[in-house]
Amino acid sequence: MTAIVAADHLSKWYGQVIGLNDVTVTVPAGITGLLGPNGAGKSTFMKLVTGQLKPSKGTITVLGEPIWGNPALYHRIGFCPEQDSFYERMTGLEWVTALVRLNGVADAAAAAMGARAIETVELTDAANKKIGAYSKGMRQRIKLAQALAHDPELLILDEPLAGMDPIARRRTIRLIKDWGRAGKSILVSSHILHEIESMTANILLINQGRILAEGNVHQIRELIDEHPHTVHIKADRTRALAREFLAHDDVLSLRLEEGAVVVQTGRPDAFYARLTDLAASGEHGTIHEVTSPDDNLQAVFQYLVKS
């Protein structure tokens, strides 16, 4: 199988701090999930793959070519970064169009490509609104639009679902799977197994700057299922949501915070499915944002490293 990304004894350190430690890995075509807790080295790996950082040691090639100092390769790559940073005063369409123009596309064509990408991420109604006025989910989707607007072969998505509401999350997962089926290769990072699992069975498990495991997700999944999963939900009617959650036995504990409800569940799949249905029905008001803290994975990784 063709390697989309190939790292050979790849290391990256920042002064005395090791970001990535002697990683040798091959990412095949298709959708691959990069899974690891906060500080595991995911972002360092993503930055090396996207040529933002130069390897301290070893080599990395993307689509068969070295990426550092090779701007022509970005014609074939689309990158959706993790950070929530934009030119806030621009509209979504202006921003995506301006970035597509940097690919050497003529003005009219860039505008058309920008509009098409925005349509793909279902943001057409907000295309002419300033990005500063976008919700968190809309901001995530406009980042995705700029990554795919120039129709790249490889999409690199760093935590693309972070902060999305359940419906946007479901739509985005569907989009990513559609792109995969359309023949694009996608490297997607997350600290939530259930997100990754809903997109692909092929994962790279990273912790403390090393790749711990790669391949099929199911064994790791079983380990993770033994640990409770925490979900932080920002919503309008948190008390009504809490009452609804407590009616189900997969909810192990629950606490209310200002404008949010924090749930620990033993069966994340069932919980997320129910949450998405609740958001879609609007029965308990609007659900604005769903996040899951990194510490969900931490215990599992500690277990994996020990075993």
Binding site: S85, R101, G104
Partner: protein, 271 residues
């Protein structure tokens, strides 16, 4: 095919100009540029009420305007603009974490710097020129001068200001991409090193932008005070062609150096 350096820079310029024009920095420095206008308005009122005698003589409006251009704009405002914008060309994008979007496009990284430098130049020219125009129309008609007679020197002043903005912007772009604490280094260079070195004879003054800019001053300055007479003894001004070529070389070399730094440097964004 990867677009050329210049074509890429023009596209980065398009993306950056609006952001730069409406930034808080531009609003703040726009207010600073209101200072000379307020001063000119005050001088105009005083002049029309009481006259403006300097050492007993009434100087022409064009002479006062020339002094204001030199002392307020060239010696103070232009270096300030150069320091604040030039050192931040890339730093702003790094701080806002938007640099990722530019560095993951098929353009040379140096095109990002060049495009932002061009945006800086247009932005600062758009800030400075209205201020200079207002000062000119307030001051030029005083002391028996006519606006029409003084107008050619206004055009020369514009050219000098643009050259100053271009030179300082490029120098501070280099400082911003190469050094830590570029703002402090820039301010020390502009308001410590340059004024100090220019006061003394020797070759060190050739390492300043101001040395070459002063050759482009078209106005006669009043020379009848003791201090100005002493300073005049040390004032060594290069020929205009030498100055223009030197400034062009400064711009080219410093921009090249800044571009190289951006190409080679890793920008680690805080998470």
């Amino acid at each position: 095919m990867t677009p050329s350096l210049l074509a890429s820079a023009v596209r980065v310029f398009d993306l950056s100009l609006g952001q730069m024009l409406w930034s808080r920095r531009s609003i703040f420095l726009g207010l600073l540029l209101g200072g000379p206008v307020v001063l000119a308005l005050a001088l105009r009122i005083i002049s029309s009420l009481y006259g403006l005698p300097i050492n007993g003589a009434q100087p022409e409006g064009a002479t006062i305007f020339g002094m204001m251009v030199w002392l307020l704009y060239i010696r103070f405002i232009v270096p300030i603009l150069g320091v604040f914008y030039g050192t931040a060309l890339i730093a702003d994008e790094v701080e806002d974490k938007t640099i990722t979007y530019l560095f993951t496009r098929p353009i040379p990284r140096s095109a990002v710097l060049l495009g932002k430098y061009l945006a800086y130049l247009v932005c600062t020219v758009l800030l400075v020129l209205p201020s200079v125009m207002l000062v000119f129309f307030l001051i030029a008609p005083t002391g028996g001068s006519s606006v029409a007679a003084a107008f050619p020197s206004l055009l020369a002043d514009f050219a000098m200001l643009i050259m100053g903005l271009a030179s300082y912007g490029a120098v501070f772009a280099l400082v911003g991409t190469r050094l830590k604490r570029p703002l402090v280094v820039g301010l020390v260079y502009a308001f410590g090193w340059e004024p100090a070195v220019l006061l003394f004879p020797g070759y060190l003054k050739r390492l300043t932008v101001m040395y070459y800019l002063q050759a482009l001053v078209t106005h006669e300055m009043p020379q009848d005070s003791a201090v100005s007479m002493v300073l005049q003894l040390f004032r060594e001004v290069p020929a205009i062609p030498t100055s223009l070529v030197s400034l062009a070389v400064i711009i080219a070399v410093t921009l090249w150096g800044a571009g190289r730094a951006v190409e080679q440097r890793e920008y680690v964004l805080e998470q």
